[in-house]
């Protein structure tokens, strides 16, 4: 008898414990009203945004102000949760596992979500004028199976950064136009001694695909051609061979396969590295430090032909949840007003995603000219293919291996991964 009583008490406590646990977990996700309205399909008055943290100073401030305006203008409430980049993959995955997806999620990928049928396309939630205003490149890469799902929040374009002081010391007059010149310059800078690094080459797991993209685009290569994976194309093997050559000649920093982008930037910021692929936030840091006299130029191409730039955009995707369509549409309507979107992008030091934005930035932000000119023709990684979401991870984990092994074998393996669907 006693034991049954005991188990009743225990069971009761367990339930209480679970209830407590449920409230504590998910940082507010449990209270998001999206779920409660779900069963009845009635209109949702509060939506939740999970935003990536681009900077400590600006991201949260912007979204808080945005939520205030949103409430005033539309009457809907916007719950904002800002998550660091280190955590956001994990958080978003957990939310979706637990059926607690936010209404809007800010992330660097969208195609897998579209493939899983979780997202609204532009016909449902994006006003037509806004779609027309978004740069064609981004519409192209945001389109999965004929529908536009990946709405860009901001963009960046890479450019070639060089240390003018080191160039002068090494007797180099102008930034390289071809890879041969780059190699030459890197040798000269390394020869200065004192641990100077010619070219800072980050092929570590943080963003190996970004660095490699910049190089392969400027050798006429690509990740996919005509809809087929082309990771191990001759051009790409040639590109990776060249990177290995740079590493073998020791004109890069030590151990490029294990150097993350942030570390490469640190080398450039400290005046140790002569050249690096950077983007506007790096320029902002350099301007703040005022330590390095640097120049920004188009990235040299292998044969000296016109430089191509690697562009990146992140996405604000809208999750299909019963009754949230109107509120979500109102969100995009407000976000893409020039006041909002351009303010955000400017504060974070990135580049615009709309045609109107490019115009405004071109007039007012002379420092960004190098990037803005290249932006409309920027090439992106194949973010419109869900397979890429896995290939990207495979590239991050394996590309560096080519520095101690065979570039061809490395790329063959990646090609195989891609053809097998990740």
């Amino acid at each position: 008898m006693r034991s049954t009583k005991k188990s009743v008490v225990v069971a009761g406590l367990a339930i209480a414990g679970l209830a407590l646990g449920a409230c504590g977990g998910g940082t507010g996700a449990g209270t998001a009203p999206g779920g409660t309205a779900g069963s009845t399909g009635e209109e949702v008055k509060t939506i939740k945004l999970v935003a990536a943290e681009y900077s400590k100073d600006h991201t949260k401030a912007f979204w808080d102000a945005f939520a205030k305006t949103y409430k005033e203008k539309t009457g809907y409430t916007l719950e904002v949760q800002v998550v660091s980049w280190d955590n956001i993959d994990q958080q978003s995955s957990t939310m979706i596992q637990n059926n607690q997806a936010p209404d809007i999620l800010n992330l660097n990928a969208y195609a897998s979500y579209a493939k899983d049928g979780l997202l609204y396309d532009s016909d449902a939630v994006l006003p037509a004028v806004v779609k027309d205003d978004i740069l064609d490149t981004f519409v192209k890469y945001g389109t999965y199976q004929g529908k536009f799902y990946g709405f860009p929040d901001l963009s960046s374009a890479r450019a070639f950064f060089y240390n003018k002081a080191l160039f002068k010391q090494a007797g180099i007059n102008e930034p390289p136009k071809t890879w041969a010149e780059l190699e030459d310059d890197a040798k000269k800078i390394t020869a200065l001694g004192g641990g100077k690094v010619g070219y800072a080459l980050p092929l570590g797991p943080e963003e190996a695909q970004g660095e490699f993209s910049m190089w392969l685009f400027n050798n006429g290569g690509d990740w996919k051609t005509d809809g087929n994976w082309a990771i191990n194309s001759d051009k790409n093997v040639e590109t990776l061979d060249f990177l290995k050559k740079l590493a073998d000649e020791k004109v890069t920093q030590n151990n490029p396969a294990r150097t993350n982008r942030a570390d490469a930037f640190d080398l450039f910021k400290s005046g140790t590295a002569g050249m690096v692929v950077g983007f506007s936030p790096l320029a902002a840091d350099l301007d703040k430090d005022k330590k390095v006299d640097y120049g920004v130029a188009p990235f040299p191409s292998n044969d000296g032909s016109e430089s191509k730039t690697f562009g990146v955009t992140d996405y604000l995707m809208a999750f299909k949840k019963p009754g949230n369509e109107k509120a979500v549409k109102a969100f995009y309507e407000l976000y893409y007003t020039p006041d909002q979107v351009n303010t955000f992008i400017k504060a974070e030091g990135f580049l615009p995603v709309t045609k109107s934005g490019v115009k405004v930035f071109s007039e007012n932000e002379k420092a960004l000219e190098v990037y803005l000119n290249t932006l409309p023709n920027a090439k992106l990684t194949p973010t419109d293919d869900p397979t890429w979401d896995k290939v990207k991870l495979a590239v991050q984990q394996n590309l560096g291996g080519a520095m101690n092994g065979s570039p061809k074998a490395t790329l063959d393996k990646l090609q195989q991964t891609a053809e097998n669907g990740g």
Binding site: K6, L18, G21, S93, Q97, S112, N254, A394, N398, L399
Partner: protein, 331 residues
């Protein structure tokens, strides 16, 4: 281990080794006595246990059930559950080409960190029970690595180890021990060593204090008797101190094995520049499977998690068997 509660630096430092002996037995004796007098009704006992039970059920059992559930599901890269996978996830984990490397790393990591920690702690604890000027300060200093968050400590070591700016390389080069910097975190032959150093560093405080408590519990009269009988210091240590330290050694080993096995931040932080699984243990392997690797599969990661739990249970079980748990706890 009732003694461990009395190890707070306060009383230990104010009292010399002599009068601690007179103090401790009286405390434990009092406890034993009160235990014998009061017998509590099981329901009242349950009432007292309730918060702990609720916590165990809510924080341990419920997630464990969820984990098992997840390990049997098929998940999309987005985290969406697409259906049931049966035992596929388990098979995929066992089939993983890097599993051997990961298991070997785990063994090296746990054995190296725990063994080095225990040996160093025995020596340091021996030193810290002696009275010397400034002992209070030293004992506090020993706690610091424990008080700091593991992520912060690990990040600190990343800076110390750095190839270009790290102070360790700087010192070694200035002393002409090495000609070119060592890539502590990027060179495969150094990475595990560098991580073990940090693992030992953060495990030392807890272990030292367990041993200080253990040493404090050794009655001085036994030692005196041995000295009178002409035992050398080494004989005294080997035949009296160490056997009497067995409970403390056991606690320290078991808890350290569990902590070190489960240690995530050190390996994750120090190894984050290295691609693949070359230096991962089963814990970081599990994390990478879910969020970083090309698999990016929650179900597979959950299956790896189940293996982790089983693995640690087996290890602890074997250890307890060896050390003869029953005999020791009945003391």
């Amino acid at each position: 281990m009732t003694d461990s509660t009395t190890v707070a630096p306060g009383p230990a430092t104010t009292a010399g080794p002599g009068d601690r002996r007179s103090r401790m037995p009286s405390r434990t004796a009092r406890r034993h006595r009160s235990g014998r007098i009061g017998r509590v009704h099981p329901l009242i006992a349950l009432l007292w246990l309730a918060p702990a039970l609720a916590l165990i059920l809510g924080v341990v059992l419920y997630p464990a059930i969820k984990l098992f559930d997840a390990s049997r599901g098929e998940y999309s890269i987005t985290g969406l559950r697409k259906g049931d996978a049966g035992w596929d996830n388990y098979a995929k984990v066992l089939d993983h080409p890097d599993l051997g490397t990961v298991l070997r790393n785990t063994v090296v990591w746990v054995v190296a960190v725990v063994a080095i920690t225990i040996v160093l702690s025995l020596a340091l604890a021996q030193f810290l029970v002696k009275s010397f000027p400034g002992r209070r300060f030293v004992r506090w200093a020993v706690i610091i690595p424990w008080a700091a968050s593991l992520v912060i400590t690990s990040q600190l070591f990343v800076l110390l180890y750095d190839y270009n700016y790290g102070i360790i390389n700087h010192v070694l080069m200035s002393l002409h021990v090495i000609g070119t910097p060592i890539d502590f975190l990027g060179d495969d032959s150094w990475t595990m060593f560098s991580m073990v150093v940090v693992g030992v560093f953060v495990s030392l405080p807890f272990t030292i204090f367990v041993f200080i408590a253990g040493l404090g519990a050794i009655p001085d009269d036994v030692m005196e008797a041995a000295t009178v009988d002409g035992a050398s210091p080494w004989q005294r240590y080997w035949n009296i101190t160490l056997p009497l330290m067995r409970p403390a050694l056991m606690i320290a080993t078991v808890l350290n094995v569990i902590y070190v096995f489960n240690s995530f931040p050190i390996i994750y932080t120090l190894n984050d520049r290295n691609p693949g699984y070359l230096h991962d243990t089963t814990i970081t392997f599990m994390y990478k499977l879910a969020f970083k690797s090309q698999e990016k599969d929650v179900g597979m990661s959950a299956a790896a998690g189940i293996f982790n739990v089983l693995l640690i249970l087996v290890v602890v079980g074997i250890y307890l068997k060896i050390i003869n748990w029953r005999e020791e706890t009945s003391r």
